[in-house]
Assembly symmetry: C2
Homo-oligomer: 385 residues x 2
Amino acid sequence: MPLQDHHQLISVDDHLVEPPHLWEQWLPADLRDRGPQVVEEDRGDQPPAQVWHYAGRRFPQIGLNAVAGKKPEEFGIDPVRYDHMLPGCWEPEARVIDMDIDGVQAQLCFPSFPRTAGAAFIEGVVKEGDDPKLALACVRAWNDFQLQEWCSVAPGRFIPVVMLPLWDVDASVAEIERTAALGARTVTFPENTVPLGLPSFHTDHWDPLFAAAADAQMPLSMHFGSSGQGPLTAPEAPLAVVITLFGCNSMYAAADLMFSPVFHRHPNLKVAFSEGGIGWVPYLLERADYTWERHRFYQNVDQTTRPSDLFRSNMWVCFIDDEHGLASRHEIGVGNITWECDYPHSDSNWPNSRKRAAELLEDVPDDEAQRIVELNARELFGLPR
Amino acid sequence: MPLQDHHQLISVDDHLVEPPHLWEQWLPADLRDRGPQVVEEDRGDQPPAQVWHYAGRRFPQIGLNAVAGKKPEEFGIDPVRYDHMLPGCWEPEARVIDMDIDGVQAQLCFPSFPRTAGAAFIEGVVKEGDDPKLALACVRAWNDFQLQEWCSVAPGRFIPVVMLPLWDVDASVAEIERTAALGARTVTFPENTVPLGLPSFHTDHWDPLFAAAADAQMPLSMHFGSSGQGPLTAPEAPLAVVITLFGCNSMYAAADLMFSPVFHRHPNLKVAFSEGGIGWVPYLLERADYTWERHRFYQNVDQTTRPSDLFRSNMWVCFIDDEHGLASRHEIGVGNITWECDYPHSDSNWPNSRKRAAELLEDVPDDEAQRIVELNARELFGLPR
């Protein structure tokens, strides 16, 4: 009898679509006219598309993959206008109603147009020569919107997440401290910083940032694709190949971190992988330990801690629909598994998330089920009951 | 009581180090002085390195990862001279002795210096402007060596494998037909052709080649890394990260093939993944089916066959040491699992391969154990008992 009525579903991976007024409202007055803006673009016979413009570039998908409420047969074209999406995509009050319909107590809502870890602003500065002062203000505006407009409509119903100005470690530390004081509970951080043009986990570049996040008890939430690099196999490969392989990005990041100095230097730092699934974990941990047994001697690798121990002490994974993963939960670590809703993306089971979660957990004892859907996330993100 | 005395271990993934005389002996006389040659390179105080030179380029590792017989504490530096390796690396008679020591009945020996699917010759023509006539002769020479010098010393103890001149589909078809008549049982084929500068599995480019391989009942053996692309995360990442993530290359290839037209057009074509492990398979198949349920409608994807069904009918995977994979064998398909020795690479358990296989199969019923270590490979590669 899993999923008792008193078990609350805490989702660690969802998405909000930025409303058109976001930067107009939250940027300082002197930068307001240079912030991201939604522009109506003519499409001939069809209704005009609404497209974000920023720093001379256009970002065609206002609500990338925001297909909640559609049938799979209708998937395929990302919405190009706000009125093609459910209002819950961009209005927090409407979101809470959709969460209630879905049986979900709390959500963690990542950015959409700037990408899940804010790559639009980061790469803009690192690779495109954007004005870092403006980009920093845009990052802070998104965070202020998240904390003071999105999450504040329903305290306890959201896990407040903030993005960082990653081109500047000192500014990132300051933003962690500023937002922690405002109630932020986690940082969205790229699963790999190298494709963004930034130093890797194997350098000491990020140490002040990781120390600040650990001090603030803000886990790093690493969403699939936040590196800007996806599992592309071929130019003609159908999108289904990439969607199938999402989890490989999390496998890469987990292996990268297990053999990096990050958790030795920052034992209290926690990492939560988002939208990567869980069924691959037993294979990866066994493989990492096997590799460590044979290959640690000649490499700059911790000689005393097994990679799987680092995983279990410092990393969390989440699932939407992963029967093999749940059957393997003791090999993964019941304490390392969380649940996600993924509203409003195509992987989500909305409006049947709770129904589907109950089916998946049918053979899982009550105490383990509650750990997985609720208590692990509450403890990880400091969300009191 | 698994691994009865009459169960024979058939390994589907091993490696031979090309002996210095290979191309001197097997190239046509008029091309002999232009073929790959082992050159002694001065290293000051240390013994000279032996390095393959071909087409004006040097290939530093004569025996990449040929560490059989060394302890993990001695790993780290690839051998640079033949006398740093066990003779079994490059002498077929010595190899058979090492197989007997290891309790292994048969091996499938991939190329070393040209890379596992002959990328040195393929990329040479496609990207470096090498003479295709010379490159074709080098490919044929390797195949003649494999069939008439390596495998012929002990019939039934090797699975004869050949490489193809993949820059030329017609020449590849001709080489399949030529070598099939000489006893070849499988083709080494890249897990992804795109990084080699060639068309993908999603085009019709390979149809004549795939048809010829299916007609000749020669499965495509796809070795980890044969695409030339590895799971690199960062310039400073220790090699352990890449070694841990080998299996992701096979995951990419399996997903790529499951959503490609390859098996619809060539239902008798078989693909065997080498050195990719098996523990990831249940996760990937569940994820692929989930993706197919939701995302097949708007894509050029087979609308009637589930990806997991394509996997079970056309793909095989193999393991060295994979406890989670063996525990999940019914989710993978007992008929799709084979075993590998990986001599003389660092993943191998030589000289304890049979001992370790017996430990891993301790809880597996006899009939399933024999399928996994012997019968699946015999049937797949047409190796009579």
